[in-house]
Amino acid sequence: MTLKIFGKLTDIFKNVQYDLDTEKINTVSDLKKLLYEKFPALKELTFLIVMNGVKAEDEQSISGDAEIALLPPYSGG
């Protein structure tokens, strides 16, 4: 699974995308847990998980071919 990364989160992932092994991931909650393990700094940050173009909720299941994006809020105006 390739995640699309937005905003300041690209400073943590060092890229605009990130490849993830999906074996342990069944739900959005699992995805968050795995990301927090790999990138502890994410725990302090606010971001949406977008799945197939829709804002995803924690309990939703994730299929291996889902398109996932991590989108934080922006402040500039």
Partner: protein, 370 residues
């Protein structure tokens, strides 16, 4: 307050090129002429939004901003010129926009949006446009518009990316707002604004143009408006994404005007570090204590200077080498423009002087001089 010029008295020739569009025509032009729009923030997004709405023939425009034009605004805020530096943005904006199109009536509000003034300002307008640059005003404006059911066209930017959406418009029996995307704000230091993150002039102009486009589509009744949708657009690689969203169960915005008035937005947006923060009301009391000092960590050419206050001027970049200067004070309060550099200064200083009482003033230099 605002008098919209009668449509029949307008010279429609100037709008010909948009009126000949098959999905626009005289009907849409008349709708624009009879509409009023309030633009909150006359900066990188607000300038293109204002220029486009006024040029397009929107009948009445309100502008809210308490800031003055600064030299480092000019590269992206094309509404202003070198002569405007030092002038309040709303004054300069009104002067330029009046020359652009006399069909549009323009009202200026040179003030910071607060829980006390927000309803009296927004209630006269059909559509509100969020061109703000901080989360405190964004959540306050979002909640006030949600309470009054005012359509709110939102945009914000980070480096080469931008987000645009339209809130408080019912569609498919649902109404959504910013809190359905982000129910709670990020930490104080989590998301840099343009002063910290930097921005290319073309980028803020592109995102502001998208935002103005949504306002016009909303006013003329177009179906393709970003309702329950957030557009994310990157002007460096042209990657775009639309995020569909629904009402969020976890959000808890004020449900009555009384709840709204009692809601502390400053605290809400800094909630995880509230012990370190001084409010406007508490600043003077803090500084009246013995051995207290205010430290301005902005660059020395940033306006307005704090001449009325006894403040040390130590730009953040040189604070590390100047910590000795602070040794003899017991109570320190840092100040900058938006609360971001003052927060960093606080964290740096705390590790050197754990015994001192150290605060910062996130409302920023302009708020105590306005």
């Amino acid at each position: 307050m605002l008098k919209i010029k009668t449509f029949l008295r307008m010279d429609l020739k100037r709008y010909n090129r948009q009126m000949i569009l098959p999905d626009f025509g005289i009907t849409a032009q008349e709708k624009l002429a009879e509409s009023s729009v309030l633009v909150v923030g006359a900066g990188g997004l607000g300038c293109p939004v204002l220029q486009i709405l006024v040029s397009s023939g929107v009948g009445a425009i309100g502008i809210v901003d308490f800031d003055i034009v600064e030299t480092d605004n000019l590269h992206r805020q094309f509404l202003y010129d070198e002569q405007d530096v030092g002038t309040p943005k709303v004054i300069a904006a009104v002067e330029h926009l009046n020359k652009m199109n006399t069909d549009t009536e323009i009202a200026a509000f040179q003030e910071m949006l607060t829980s006390d003034n927000v309803f009296s300002i927004i209630h006269n307008f059909d559509v509100i446009v969020d061109c703000t640059d901080n989360f405190t005003t964004r959540y306050l404006l979002n909640d006030a518009c949600a309470l009054l059911k005012k359509p709110l066209v939102y945009a914000s930017i980070f480096r080469h990316e931008g987000q645009i959406s339209v809130f408080n418009v019912e569609k498919d029996n649902k109404v959504t707002n910013y809190r359905d995307l982000f129910p709670v704000p990020p930490n104080q230091n989590e998301v840099p604004d343009c002063n910290e993150a930097g921005v290319l002039s073309a980028h803020s102009a592109v995102i502001g143009t998208f935002q103005a486009n949504e306002v016009i589509k909303l006013l003329i009744g177009s179906k393709d408006v970003l309702i329950h949708k957030l557009l994310s657009f990157n002007t460096r690689n042209y990657q775009s994404m639309i995020v569909n969203f629904n009402p969020c169960k976890e959000k808890s915005e004020p449900e009555t005007i009384e709840q709204f008035k009692n809601f502390n937005y400053e605290e809400f947006c800094n909630i995880r570090k509230e012990n370190d923060i001084l409010s406007t009301a508490d600043l003077q009391t803090f500084l009246n204590q013995k051995s207290s000092i205010l430290i301005d960590v902005r660059e020395t050419d940033e306006l307005p200077r704090l001449n009325l206050f006894q403040a040390l001027e130590i730009p953040l970049a040189s604070l590390g080498q100047n910590l000795k200067t602070l040794e003899n004070y017991e109570n320190l309060c840092f100040i900058c423009a938006s609360g971001k550099r003052s927060r960093k200064a606080l964290e740096l200083t705390k590790s050197y002087f754990p015994e001192k009482e150290i605060k910062h003033f996130p409302a920023g230099a302009k708020s105590i001089l306005s």
